[in-house]
Chain length 646, copies 2
């Protein structure tokens, strides 16, 4: 996969990859441009936008992940809105939400957020990877695509019912986001509005997560679509500030929603990040998410600074001097192992054996490891775009008509948006394999919209559907083979996207037998039954630590999340000792509930202390280590839990 | 509510309401018209369509429920397709699926289904309320709206990959169904097809579940929308057979999808059932679902028969003589109680107290009991159309902006289609009350798309969301009050729509305390913890029956499905005796799992036999009593279960 590996798991890079020497524009640097109200507005906003791009670059480089491309494409629009348009009652938010680094750079420059937060993107207690209402300036939680216009309707209705002047609403959407049905669903009702309050702006940068929108799922004639859905359409160059002004300054004369189609350039502002600079044979855009390399960071920062200085000179303003900063070194798990490459290998092998296998993807081909499949199997790869419901219903009839569909996305989307469609498929008694990557509370950088810790609940109550979460890369192949060749019904493979420490206990832990776990370590003090590679590593580290204190744990790794061989567990658990389950999921509806219930029904729990560990509150956004600690799921916390029940 | 009560719970009528003297056209009656191939096709199809309408009327009257209005509106189109167009490889199905009685009437007349099945609509082992692939002629499971075009894409893709001639695909959609985002989501990709295979036909009968489409959520310029989404649009009178012919005979010249907008009349064929015959001041259409009254049945049958005879005379064919049949009498629970009227009262009271309460509905105002709310509170009632994702996201921002949204639909839709939106709302820490009616395995007539037995799974893993299922009508008010006034987070009220027997034990069972149940009966032999009014009645009947055999049950009714006061249960359960949980839901992810886990963690299970009863397979469609029996949830089965563990 070559270079692709570098950015194929953008959310999983635990810390920055941009080197340790970065720089940002301090709060003071913004005073001159903010104070220069006599300046031509377009000139002032353009300069401000470049300055916040500089800080956006810093934030993403420091965080080690974040979305540069769409932050940059939207920043002329966002800067214009904040500096020239928004009044106190108005609301602005991004429906896609992943352009939040750019928005935070604006918010910090304008003191809507404390300025110091620019050092805390994707850190615990800092700025979450996607917007959260707990953060100043965030109007609503976004990050799950397609909800923005519906949300605007709710706000307007609330204002009307409360009899208050709610002002205007400006909603930014992506262009790939328009593939989500909810956008059109919400527009049907929006078309009836004649209140002049809603303007939504499509950041039409032509490139979605993987590649060009028209290659993923062409949107066709967007202007005709919005017009047919009752909007007044205004199409502009989204980097031409005069055009932005004209498009957003006034509502439609008849008050109906205004759809601004803003043609923008992804990565705008840094020449080599602009999608228009992609080589003709370059298929995938490199700056959608993930941190820049040290060289890319340096080049981009230099280029932006030169442009900022030139603009200051032209405007007669003092040129800002960036503040250099040395940041913490990159952290990666020691002896890291990754699951997605193993999945790539597994599905390639399966597809070579079985011509009925069809892989479906929802614009995450880079992250789900499907590029080699796409290259090798052509028509048997189906790119559905960001359209999970459509994808899953297609998979259903593919299966009815004799194929074996394997359906991919991030778990947070795959198991929620199309859950009714998944059930519909299950009622047909066919076999569909659902493969969700980015499962669990880590990576924690992207925030709760992407932290998939409720997929076991939404994938339960599906007759014959078995949930399998491999414990290590070596189990991915066997798990997929079982789902394809041995299991009659459907299944859900829950995969970890971040690298995790390779542990010898997990490397050769024996054959996978449905309902049974793997005894990774034996001890008489207590039994930990753990799911997911990340937490298996933490549990083993906890066991190592406790062994030094005379507490010996039995650690059972469990890849079968909703199938329990209670008799096997009865034998495998430490006799009479406390049982703790540890899962990368909410405890409500999670694996622990399945295990404890099965053991109780089998009469295998008498007199035993039982505790379930896992998520109980909305996941925090932050660095993986600090978030695991925050939720009591790191090795130290697990060890403390064990001691507390002994 | 007057007359509305008669049809406000159409799915809940357990048996026919059309009296016991019905008639149908036997298989033989169809031979002359099917054999009259020399007849003008339009004349022949029109006659056939009227004959299948006659049998559709019989089937729905006999079943006591089913969708007459849209069966009738679609039958000229469907008859034309089956008699004149479909070749062996072609596929026809209805995306909305609830017009299945009409389709079954066609299938039985054409021997695609055994003819005898016309006596078995919505009966166990007969014809399910919505299509199921287990039924001959059913191409795919439908009934959850909006999936039809996606499914067509999957079929076509499978044919292509298998290298077979899959023929043409004809998909019927509703017009209300077009409010679902998935329709538009699926069309984005469909527009790229140039294979000449897909024709979808909108049965544009102008009336959706409640009332006129343009009153519920106006679709605007449909032709412009389909054109903008890349379809060739053909608009026709859906009862003009020559026009139908012209619209479906040939694909588009360039092979792209054809959208036929067929203007039809809901209830077509019976003068007083046609929506065009509604009085100017009549707001709700009476024949969407549910059985006709005896008088309506008689008038409709007479009118259809007269028309059929006249057409036969004109065509020179023998006039058919209907076969009279005496059917089983109407069954209703003795001393029946209904929950929805109690809900109506409860939300009216709440809304009078608290001006922040806003009710949102998804085209089920009749079934969710909201007509009085709508009439009394005007702007605080929000009709969202069949657009659950849009509805839930609107509710989210209503809550953020200070309102208290109460969101309604059938549980099967409310808890699945917008589950990502519900989670998104929960991450904002606001309060939204979700109210799902039609919960549980009964009514069993509509089939698995409507039998909500996995809503606890999809509503789990939502921090602070509490699931409450009142045990009787008297608990609905307190449950809603708790959700609105006492609970800080969100909640899901799981309501039963069918009438159930009033039991004294359930009438005054004490205050509702979160996590605690109600001891309905005390006995030492075993403890049954039961949820839902329907199963509470069955459990009490089982206890009555067992008492006669010397087995004394403790029966605990439990309205809190995901909150357990384990200490209270420890005291309330019969000491040391077996524990059985009984739930109107899949056992996987259901209440039993929550209870058993909580008791195990609290150390309250030592030595106790534990069994969980509930659904384990896809629910069967049928009459309520036979389906409860089929799934082992009727009183007799529960008693047998108890005996088996003693």
């Amino acid at each position: 996969m070559g270079e692709q590996v570098t950015y194929s798991l953008p959310e999983s890079v635990e810390a920055n990859t941009a080197g340790n020497q970065l720089a940002y524009l301090a709060e003071d640097c913004f005073r001159p441009v903010l104070g220069a109200t006599a300046l031509d507005p377009a000139q002032r906003v353009a300069l401000f936008a470049q300055m916040v791009r500089y800080n956006t670059l810093y934030m993403v480089a420091r965080a080690g992940s974040g979305h540069l491309g769409s932050s940059f494409s939207s920043l002329d629009i966002v800067s214009w809105l904040y500096l020239q348009v928004l009044r106190p009652n108005d609301r602005y938010y991004s429906s896609k939400g992943h352009d939040s680094p750019g928005l935070y750079a604006v918010h910090t420059a304008l003191a809507i957020q404390p300025f110091e937060r620019i050092h805390q993107l994707r850190r615990l207690g800092g700025l979450p990877g996607h917007p959260d209402v707990g953060s100043p300036g965030a109007v609503t939680n976004t990050g799950s695509l397609g909800m923005g216009i519906s949300k605007a309707k709710g706000f307007m209705l609330a204002d009307d019912l409360a009899g208050r002047d709610g002002g205007r609403l400006f909603v930014l959407t992506g262009d790939g986001e328009l593939q989500e049905g909810q956008i059109w669903e919400s527009l049907i009702g929006a078309a009836r509005l004649r209140n002049g309050r809603l303007t939504f702006i499509v950041d039409h940068n032509k490139v979605q997560s993987d590649t060009f929108v028209d290659k993923v799922s062409d949107l066709g004639d967007l202007a005709a679509k919005f017009a047919a859905f009752g909007c007044e359409v205004r199409r502009i160059d989204g980097h031409d500030l005069a055009a932005i002004r004209a498009a957003v300054e006034t509502p439609a004369a008849d008050g109906r929603p205004v759809a601004v189609i803003a043609d923008t350039i992804k990565g705008r502002g840094v020449s080599f990040m602009e999608h228009t600079a992609m080589a003709p044979d370059q298929e995938y855009y490199r700056f959608h998410s993930g941190a820049p390399t040290p060289e890319d960071y340096r080049r981009a920062a230099d280029e932006l600074l030169a442009d900022i200085r030139a603009r200051c000179l032209e405007a007669g303003l003092p040129a800002p001097t960036p503040t250099p900063i040395t940041i913490e070194p990159v952290r990666q798990p020691v002896d890291a192992e990754r699951m997605i490459p193993a999945y790539t290998e597994a599905i390639l092998n399966a597809a070579r054996r079985d011509g009925r296998i069809v892989a479906l993807d929802a614009d995450l081909v880079l992250d789900t490891g499907l590029i080699p499949f796409k290259n090798e199997f052509g028509a048997r790869f189906v790119e559905c775009g960001i359209a999970e419901q459509d994808m899953v219903s297609q998979a259903g009839t593919l299966a009815l008509a004799g194929m074996v569909p394997v359906v991919h996305s991030f778990s947070c989307f795959l198991t929620t948006r199309p859950t009714e469609q998944i059930y519909n498929n299950c009622t047909e008694g066919t076999k569909v394999v659902y493969v969700g990557s980015l499962s669990g509370v880590v990576p924690a950088g992207p925030g709760h919209s992407h932290q998939s810790v409720r997929d076991m609940t939404t994938m339960s109550g599906l007759p014959d559907l078995v949930i399998v979460e491999p414990l290590c890369a070596d189990q991915v192949g066997p798990a997929l083979r079982w789902a394809l060749d041995e299991h009659k019904g459907s299944s859900f493979l829950r995969l970890t996207s971040i690298p995790y420490t390779r542990r010898p206990e997990l490397q050769d832990c024996g054959p996978m037998v449905p309902g049974r776990g793997h005894v990774l370590r034996r001890g008489a003090s207590a039994t930990l039954v753990v799911t997911s590679p990340v937490l298996a590593v933490e549990a083993l580290k906890a066991a190592d630590a406790l062994a030094g204190r005379g507490v010996e744990l039995t650690v059972i790794g469990m890849p079968w999340l909703n199938r329990i061989d209670a008799a096997w567990f009865g034998e495998a658990m430490a006799t009479g000792a406390p049982l703790l389950t540890v899962e990368n999921h909410y405890v409500e509806g999670g694996f622990g509930m399945h295990l404890v219930t099965a053991l109780a029904e089998a009469g295998r729990l008498p007199g035993r202390t039982v505790r379930r560990l896992g998520m109980t509150v909305v996941p925090a956004s932050g660095r993986n280590d600090e978030v695991l600690r925050h939720h009591g799921l790191d090795a130290a916390s697990l060890a403390e839990h064990v001691l507390s029940v002994l």
